[in-house]
Amino acid sequence: MALELELISPIDVAKDVALAVQEYTLLSAQSLANFFRRPLYMGDMLQQADLIGVGSLPIVILTGLSVGALLALNSASSLERFGAVTLIGQLVSLGMVTELGPLITGLMVAGRNASGMASELGSMVVTEQIDAMRALGTDPAKKLITPRVGATAFMLFFLTIIADLLGLIGGYAVAHLLFGVDTQQYWTTIWQTLVFRDVFTGLIKPVLFGFIISTVGCYYGMSTKGGTQGVGRSTTQAVVASSVLILIVDFFVTKLIFAIFGYR
């Protein structure tokens, strides 16, 4: 069987990328602007908050606990050599609150919800439900996208707090049970280590990540083409793109915060 390869011009690829960036930017801007336009679908937003927030709780609890425990385990092995095992709390709290808590929660929620949004909206596109909604005089951006964006950003904020707390508990379990760190010492170290900028860094990120997850998921869903195969493709692309974007934005936000507040 002859294998035919279709050559694609680099200019066409660049045009497609530029168009995708333009459409994504428009969708994102529109989703934000719709918070100030009527009608605001509060019922849909609450439903999405339940699906995204409560639905993601088990996976966030599990990953929060595991990451905290692993962080404690890995740092303890190094600290023990210097007789500084009591500093576990400091390392776990800084690692969890400023970086790993928001990042891991963001990536988990991206895997679960960006795919869900892309497949749900993608199915609606290919079965003409989005067209039907427009034909019935309802703006799909207001009805479907804005509630998802609001709910994801809002719920990821609280999910991250839960993940941070469970990470600290996981770290405590390892530090106390395996390395004999005193309970009061562990928690006092944490209390004394964390300052405003750490908490601020750790809580601004989930809001941005939530925005990225929902807008990327909705963008890939709404731009689905090509039937059920297209829905599958959109779902995969949404998870990959949102995860990569989260990692990139995380780097730049961290850098920006260091630039504003200075290094510790």
Binding site: S123, E128, A135
Partner: protein, 281 residues
């Protein structure tokens, strides 16, 4: 089959637009990825008239309907709906206009996560109509399509023909001035098709709704051209031979993106164009 009684009889139809037509296409063209789908087509749909649109698969019939409701924008030409030019309207302005236009999609396009009553009531709920009135009107619309028993069911629990009838109920619940049907009888058995044709004829004759109907089934359009809805017996009845030209029914055939025929049943049957004669035969 007899069709049941209807929602409110005070139809908003027959509002005369400045252009004098319910829908007017003026030299409209559209292409997708450099493939020209519609190439400078022009036609008018009079108020109260139903126009059946034919053409082979891929001839742009569904595209034409999506242009008529502003879901797609033409590359060139002008489109008037109820006297307003929609070609350059913003999406927000189109949302307002679409409240006066109903559409039945090819595959029904019901919201699969909503129950039948939520689907039919969608537009009313968006307009914040009181729940009691919503329920009354949904039940009336479902009774009209003889599916009141499906009120609490999900679309996935319905057959293809039932979904199509629910889609009609959703389209007519606000008694729009213009209805667009995309292959309403496609893929259905003859009995169900006849039920749907009767609903469309009733909408045409009782409510005087203007309609564009895309179809592959010539026999459906001929049935509509040779029958009228009799309100007293509440069913579709054949017209006497001498009155057949009186129903507001016309035919439009698309070929290679152009309109090759636009006229009534008699003109279609008498056409000398080889392609049309082959199509009709």
């Amino acid at each position: 089959m007899s069709a049941p009684t209807l929602p409110s009889e005070n139809s908003a139809a027959a509002v005369v637009s400045p252009s004098g037509h319910a829908i007017e296409f003026d030299n409209v063209s559209i292409a997708f990825d450099e493939k020209v789908v519609l190439d400078g087509i022009s036609f008018q749909l009079a108020h109260g008239e139903t126009k059946a649109i034919f053409g082979v698969a891929g001839s742009g019939k569904s595209t034409l309907l999506k242009l008529a409701i502003g879901l797609l924008r033409p590359d060139s030409g002008r489109i008037f709906v109820l006297g307003e030019e929609i070609t350059h309207m913003s999406e927000q302005e189109l949302f307002e206009l679409r409240r006066r236009v109903g559409i039945v999609f090819q595959e029904s396009a019901l919201f699969d996560s909503l129950k039948v009553y939520e689907n039919v009531a969608f537009r009313l709920m968006e307009e914040k109509i009181p729940p009691e009135e919503v329920e009354r009107r949904v039940r009336e619309a479902l009774r009209f399509v003889e599916l009141e028993q499906t009120y609490d069911m999900y679309p996935s629990e319905l057959s293809g023909g039932m979904r199509r009838r629910v889609a009609i109920a959703r389209a007519i619940i606000t008694q729009p001035e213009v209805l667009l049907y995309d292959s309403p009888t496609g893929g259905l058995d003859p009995v169900t098709s006849n039920t749907i044709v009767e609903l469309i004829v009733k909408q045409r004759d009782v409510y005087k709704t203007s309609a564009l109907m895309v179809t592959h089934r010539l026999q459906d359009a001929f049935t509509m051209a040779t029958h009228e809805f009799d309100k007293s017996s509440n069913r579709m009845v054949p017209l006497p031979k001498g009155k057949r030209g009186e129903v507001p029914m016309s035919f439009l055939i698309l070929r290679d993106g152009k309109v090759i025929f636009d006229g009534d049943a008699q003109q279609l049957v008498n056409s000398r164009d080889d392609y049309i004669r082959e199509y009709v035969s």
